[in-house]
Structures are given as structure tokens and as C-alpha cells.
Symmetry: C2
Subunit: 343 residues, 2 copies
DNA sequence: CTGAAAGCGCTAACAC
DNA sequence: GTGTTAGCGCTTTCAG
């Protein structure tokens, strides 16, 4: 910038005024402005965001911390967040927290990331207490999405997991299912909420849930498949399965298929999230749709408003409602205890 | 930092020396160091990366521009890149280029992103000429992945698309398939390469490809499904289908299923990429596996070396080989022109 | 071994 | 309208 100042024969401040589009100040000499713009272009001038930041300017960056970007649900969430952030003039810095092992690093990454204006945390970080602690300690506006729980002091945007589970269970029940199993991911955040909602609603209806009908899994298709294999091998297999995420459900669908079970004739399956692939599962997966876009918008707005306005929204809870998407994977229960082998 | 200097009763420079772990200089008074460290901790000191950056320090940030994060393949790629980047001590800034409409913005984002040490471009940006131009104009180390083509002046890491297509076609041919259709994404980069490889290899074998057997698609399951629907409705439907990506193939599988075609009995399907879901498609998808991890490592190393060492690797082409993953979606051709309706 | 001072690129008072 | 000056937080000569 100094170069362009000398080259244009004006002072640096004038250049700054022109190039940074200072609104408030006095008007700039029409010809001077043109000359400066000209020289700037000729010299291929690029403002240095670091220097701007140092002066206290907003970086227009939103930090996003996501547990696992390979989870299609979170990929969609990142997409939604990115889209709305951009609409608000912000860009996104992605910090991946993959696995708890990297906790310390993820954390560091966040701290180093001080040069963004606000932070969004996607997904349950319940097992990374240091992260949470650190977020709380820092003065940076933070909002947590899909955390499953309220974190005092941090604005959170969640789905109503209980309503979702109730929707799913009601749907299954309306078909006459009583032996319903659960494939559940790590008991944290959203998943934990879904799991306990499942248990209460089953109890509420007087439906018993044998221990073997609640099978734990990591949130990957392979794990969902393994869980389904276990279920299908039981002496008293369920007639319906609720998976806490679509990824798990899709893995389960595959395992059922391999075992020769035809969904939904022999077994009903219902997922949670409505990831893009869900509609293309075989059969198309009935699932609970997450209002991803709305949640992303809400969260970004919260973060941006906090960053710009500085008003401490504190921890007003934002809980949005999921909806039931009926597709092809649910039907009435088979008659026998297990299906006749078809091959 | 000034505060901590006064609080510790030393000068700012001493504090800096201690806190930044200056290697070269003289040793620091043992007691002084401890005192400073102590005060720093007590005051909750956090270095300001912006100020460091201003002084010319590396930001340890890798910019990653990806066309579409919702594409499971690129999600996996981002994961791989992030992992290796972190191993090298770098964090990742994600810039999403979704859709060409945002070209200008994506571009800006990159330029603003000058505060990262190098840039990785994932996926074909052939339709964003301004982006490419800009990358070339800037002095920032850049490496392009899955660009499908060489870009003079930018280091590129690609797969051998032709080898991949040949692998797929050989596999299909070995089962006796001759009427092979192609579901192809946007004719850009990798996809373009795969498409033309398909055409040449078919020609090479003397196999004709009716125009109706090459169906264009956007890279989404829905589009793959639509394409498959078209294929299946043909009066001379193919006995095998090659999709340029697994996402397309999975969509196609679904459409075939809905049409009552049983894969692989009535139709063989083969994909490209080997995304995590591919193994859990129904039936499990035979596909061409991308060496994602290796490519990510190569690219990150290239970028980092360039950023740190400054040696201009220029545009040495890096082309890695894909492999065939045989699963369940390919069998010998059905006998009739079309399958008997099964329902 | 430690302090003083300059400067990275830019902006914002405050003059003229 | 335009120039001067100070300083954001940090590192780094250059002197003590």
C-alpha cells in the first residue's frame, strides 16, 4: 500500500480511505480516487487481512468444529451452515475434531482460531470436556448445534429428539409393532437423548425391551450392519428396528438383506436424520427428518448477531421439531417369529 | 503481553523470547523464564496469531477449496487431507465453491484467504476459470487434486481415470457383457476423462454404444436414479451400467430396484470411487477404488513442502492408480433382452 | 542475559 | 480534500 501511495503521489491514508471504502469520512477527490484505484489495480494490490484484523476489524470468518465430516448428516449440516454464513457475508473455517484422541489438538486449533469472529460446534462434544471448558473460558461468541443437551453459558440449537423418537415409535405402533429394537450410537448428546426417549416411550406403552434388543454401535454403516446381524440372529428377533441415525439404518438394511430378510416384509426399519441417501436406500428409508437448514440458519444468525451486535443471548434454548418422512421401509409385522428362509 | 511484561517486571522482548521459544538467541535467565511463564499462565495469556502472521510467521493453515462437501467422496477426501495436514502441523480452512454461481465469491474467499500458507483445490473447477486464473496469478503455493487435467503452473495430483475405466470395462467384459451403458456426471475434469476413456475402450473392443446408452447426470443419487430409469425403459436396455461415481451408481441401483430389476441378475452395475457407503449398497457395489488417502498425503506433502521449502515443484504430474474392488453388483448378462417382470 | 526501539500493513483520529 | 501520526500485538535486530 505504501508503494501505491508513492506511485500515485498521495499519502497512504488517502489510499486507505479509497481502498477500504470508508463511509463516514469526508469525500475524496474524484480524480484522486480514480488515480489511486488505477494504480492499485496496476500494481495488483491485495489487502492484507491480517493487518486489517490486527486493527480490530472483523475477520468475517466463522469457525466450525465438527466431529466427523464423513458423516453424511454433518456434511449436509456443514453445507447448510456454509450457505447461510455466506449469505451473511461470512466464510467458514472447518476444524475437524475426529475422534476424541485429537481432543487436545482440536482444542488448540480452536484457540489458534481466535482470528475468527464466532464459533459453531456441530454435534455432541460431550466427551471432550476440555473443549467445552475452553469455549466457555474464551470470550468468543459460540453456539452449539446438535449438542443434545444444554450447556450453561453457550447458546444451543437442538432438535427435539424426544418428539422424533415418539413420531417414529407411534408410526411403528400404528402398524401393530410391539417388538421394537434399537440400534444406538455412542451414548452422547443427541444419541443419548434418543436412546432414553426410546426407553421411556416403550415403557410408557407397556412394551418390554429385552436387553438384547438395544444394541450399541459406532455411527458407521459397518457398525449398523453388525448390530443388525446380531438382531437377526436372535431367537426372538424384533419385528421392527429403530436406528438412531440413517447411516446406521442403511448399514442395517444391508445386513438384513444379506441375511435374506426382506424389508419391510420381514422387518420394518426406521432411521433418523433423513440424509440425502435415505431416499435411495433399498427400500427407500422411512425416517425422521432433521430440520437441518432451519437449524443451520438459526445457529448462524445467533452466532453472527452475537459477533456483530455483541448482545449476550446467553443460553436461550432453541429446540426445533423434526418430522416423520414416510417411505418404504415400514409395513405391518410378519406373522411368524422369524421369516421363512427365501434362499 | 505488555501486561505480563510489566507484571513480571521485565521487558516485553524478554517475554516474547520466552513465550515464543526462540531457538537461536542467547539463553534466558532460568529464574526469569519461570517467573514469566508463571505470570503468563496466571494472566491467561493467548498469543495473537494475527500479530504473529503480520510479522511474517507461517499461519500453519491450509486452504482447501472443495466443490461440494455433500459429495461423500469429497467428504472422505477432506477427512484424509485434514488428517494428514494435522500430522504435518497444519489446520484446514474449508472454502466451499458450491455451484458455479458462487464462483466470484469462492474466488474472493480464496484471495481473502491469503493468510493461509498454501491452497488445495479438490475436484474439477474447470468451470470456474476465474478461480484458476486467480490461483495462477497469486504467489501462493497451490496444488490441485482430482482436477482430471493438468494445469500448467499448478502441481496436480490425479488418479489414472483411464486405467480405472479399463479395469471396470475389463471386469464387465470378462463376464461377457457387450451392451454397456454409461451414466456420466458433468463433463468436466475427472468425469470428462472417465467418459472419454469409456468411449475409446468401447470403440477399441468393437463394441458399439448407442447414443441412448450414454446418459448425462448431475452428481447426485437422484440424478443417477433418473438416468437409470431412462436406461431401463429403453427398448434395447444395456446388460451392464458403468456409473462415473458411486453416488450415481447407488441412485441407479435404487431406480433399478423400483423398476423391478434385480441386480446383478438382470443388470450389472459398477461404480467409481468406492465411497464408504458403496460396501453397504444393495447389493454391495462393485467399484473402482480411489486411492484417496495416498492422494491426500501426496497433495498435502506437496503443498506443505512448497510452503515451507519454497521449492517450485512446478507442475510435475502425480498420477496414482485406482484398483478394482469386486463385490456383488456384477454377474453375467441376463439372457433375454429385458428381464421378466417379477412383480 | 536483558532492554529499547523499529516495523510488519493497515486504519483512524486529528490536523492542515 | 489530503497529509501526519500513532498504534493494533508481536518479533527481532541492536545495544547495553
Amino acid at each position: 500500500m505504501r508503494d501505491i501511495a508513492t506511485a500515485a503521489g498521495v499519502s497512504q491514508s488517502t489510499v486507505s480511505r479509497v481502498l477500504s471504502g470508508s463511509v463516514s469520512n469526508v469525500s475524496i477527490g474524484a480524480e484522486t480516487r480514480v488515480r489511486i484505484l488505477d494504480v492499485a489495480a496496476r500494481l495488483g494490490y491485495r489487502p492484507n487481512p491480517l493487518a486489517r484484523g490486527l486493527r480490530g476489524a472483523a475477520t468475517m470468518l466463522l469457525g466450525v468444529i465438527v466431529r466427523d465430516i464423513m458423516d453424511p448428516f454433518f456434511a449436509a449440516a456443514v453445507e447448510a451452515v456454509t450457505t447461510h454464513a455466506r449469505r451473511r457475508g461470512y466464510n467458514v473455517v472447518l476444524g475437524q475434531a475426529h475422534g476424541r484422541a485429537d481432543e487436545a489438538i482440536a482444542l488448540r486449533s480452536v484457540l489458534e482460531t481466535r482470528h475468527c469472529d464466532a464459533i459453531l460446534v456441530l454435534g455432541d462434544m460431550g466427551d471432550q470436556p476440555r473443549l467445552i471448558e475452553d469455549l466457555l473460558a474464551s470470550p468468543m461468541p459460540t453456539v452449539a448445534l446438535w449438542q443434545g443437551i444444554q450447556i450453561p453459558g453457550i447458546a444451543t440449537v437442538n432438535v427435539d429428539n424426544e418428539a422424533g423418537v415418539r413420531l417414529a415409535l407411534d408410526h411403528l405402533a400404528s402398524y401393530g409393532h410391539e417388538r421394537i429394537a434399537l440400534i444406538a450410537g455412542r451414548p452422547l448428546g443427541d444419541i443419548q437423548a434418543r436412546r432414553s426417549a426410546f426407553m421411556s416411550f416403550m415403557a410408557e406403552r407397556g412394551l418390554s425391551v429385552p436387553e438384547s434388543h438395544v444394541v450399541p454401535a459406532r455411527n458407521q454403516a459397518a457398525s449398523g450392519a453388525a448390530a443388525m446381524r446380531a438382531l437377526v440372529d436372535l431367537s426372538d428377533p424384533p419385528t421392527a428396528v429403530l436406528a438412531t441415525t440413517d447411516v446406521l439404518a442403511i448399514g442395517g438394511l444391508h445386513a438384513a438383506y444379506e441375511a435374506g430378510w426382506v424389508v419391510p416384509r420381514d422387518l420394518s426399519v426406521i432411521g433418523f436424520d433423513d440424509i440425502p441417501m435415505a431416499a435411495f436406500a433399498i427400500p427407500a428409508l422411512t425416517t425422521i427428518r432433521m430440520p437441518v437448514t432451519d437449524m443451520a440458519i438459526r445457529a448462524v444468525d445467533l452466532a453472527v448477531d452475537q459477533a456483530e451486535g455483541g448482545f449476550a443471548d446467553g443460553s436461550a434454548p432453541h429446540v426445533l421439531a423434526p418430522t416423520l418422512i414416510v417411505r418404504q421401509s415400514v409395513a405391518k409385522p410378519r406373522s411368524g417369529s422369524r421369516p421363512e428362509p427365501i434362499r
